[in-house]
Symmetry: C2
Subunit: 269 residues, 2 copies
DNA sequence: CCTTTGGTTCCGAATAGTGAAACTAATATT
DNA sequence: AATATTAGTTTCACTATTCGGAACCAAAGG
């Protein structure tokens, strides 16, 4: 389930190493990295050193281990607050969660994966950093399918073959063909269902967040368990979801022009 | 207050551009970046393109703007959960905040700055992603001074001249000399005080988190207002703080060896 | 003492990055 | 309508970085 990026250029190589270190999920020694690295010893060594001096990795002298550097956390804070839908969506997610009493997700696409940017859990109302930033598969989650369905054709064609199509449950759509058919349906209805595709007992409805120009910006979903509710009941919440989605979209549109730069009037072309 | 990194090598240059884009705090057009960039047009252009294809930036075709890419959020999630003190410290921070009823911070150094990794606010008990990742000055915050005081001499000498020494309040220590003196005190007492150095009315006590080998790993603090409490009362909480700090340190130590790799026994050299 | 394992350094060859300048596509100006 | 200006993109000869095989070093194991 690792992201395979076309790592051209020097930065690409460096980042692929960074990703690899991240994938270990613990501090690693030089040899651990070397073992499944496409790079020869000397090259890898230099790349790691570079990453350390750039602050993307930290090197623990005592243990001779590399781990991800705090500089990333700082960058991500900026990324989260400015580039994504997350900050503008926040109040709407809260409202949705209070109105429905269910779990809410906000996600965007990161390459072929779904990246969760925010989450509201109805029970303990707490959103932690450790929740945002998680990745999941696109082909078998509500938000994933909702987003794929509204992607431009060329991008979709690039992403579909990159899905793993692993069978998680009996309901998982395990082939590109099956998925394409489902996406067609979703496009028609305007919303996606997760019929326990990913986890047994977990169901959800999701809608895309579309800009004024019908560009897909992300997706939001309401998740529950098949024990507590049913797909039918969830479908009744679709209007609320769509409402929230369009509010988020317009909020995001405005949010780009706090006061300076191009004026909102100019948008009306 | 911008971080000036020695951007040698190709990745360094790319990252400096990334930082620059981040510093705008809004989507930017090519020319905005060009205007105060050390790089010539063509070079900057290519660097930006690289960053986009690497997913560190996203390019909005409609508006022709660059903003930080979601890939950073994913990386930061890994960074937060694995490289930093944050995950192991979490339960201890919660405990502290419940015991004292005050605001708790966990911070590490990111170059010359303080980077906040977690926060517990006593009132509305909510920790949001948008809180972690914030940066602040080191020379005039409790956590900052606590960390500087326990830094190895050579590192300290590199970092001290990089502080801005801006006067925020009458109590701010505005010179390297004044700061050095204070650090001496802190080293003696084992804890740092923020006597409204940074914000009027805001006071705090902070202690460093030190590893078994006395390496400085971060700092934690209890913050309050001068209206609600006093420095004297805060000082009474130092033992609790130090307790938490040492628990965090040992937890972090163990956390490095979930099961595999070097065994804990080997640590006893 | 020799060998193995893990990590670091060298240096010529190969590659990727550089940036002045030319070009295009949109406004704005005369 | 013709021209100037501004913003963004492409080209290409030049050059600085990066690459990586091989040699080297240091510590642990026999």
């Amino acid at each position: 389930m690792e992201t395979e990026r076309k790592s051209s250029g020097t930065v690409g190589k460096a980042l692929s190493v960074l990703d690899q270190v991240a994938s270990f999920e613990r501090p690693v020694r030089f040899n651990d990295v070397l073992e499944d690295s496409p790079f020869p010893k000397a090259t890898l060594y230099r790349i790691l050193q570079n990453l350390v001096t750039e602050g993307l990795l930290t090197f623990d002298r005592e243990w001779q281990t590399y781990s991800l550097g705090v500089r990333l956390v700082r960058l991500a804070h900026s990324a989260w607050t400015q580039s994504s839908l997350a900050p503008v969506a926040r109040p709407h997610l809260t409202a949705l969660s209070e109105a429905t009493g269910e779990t809410i997700h906000l996600a965007q696409l990161d390459g072929p994966h779904v990246l969760y940017l925010d989450k509201r859990d109805a029970k303990r109302r707490i959103t932690m950093f450790s929740e945002a930033g998680k990745v999941g598969p696109a082909y078998c989650t509500g938000v994933g399918k909702a987003m794929l369905a509204f992607l431009p054709k060329d991008e979709l064609e690039r992403i579909l073959p990159q899905q793993s199509y692993h069978r998680f449950t009996p309901a998982t759509l395990c082939s590109q063909q099956a998925l394409t058919g489902e996406l067609e349906q979703i496009r028609e209805h305007g919303f996606a269902l997760d019929r326990e595709d990913h986890e047994p007992g977990i169901i959800c409805v999701a809608v895309p967040v579309l800009s004024r120009t019908k560009q897909m910006m992300g997706a939001i979903s309401i998740t529950s368990t098949s024990a507590r509710t049913s797909l039918g009941k969830l479908e009744k919440l679709v209007p609320d979801l769509q409402n929230a989605a369009s509010e988020i979209a317009t909020a995001a549109e405005y949010w780009r022009f706090p006061d300076n730069q191009r004026t909102p009037e100019k948008m009306e072309i």
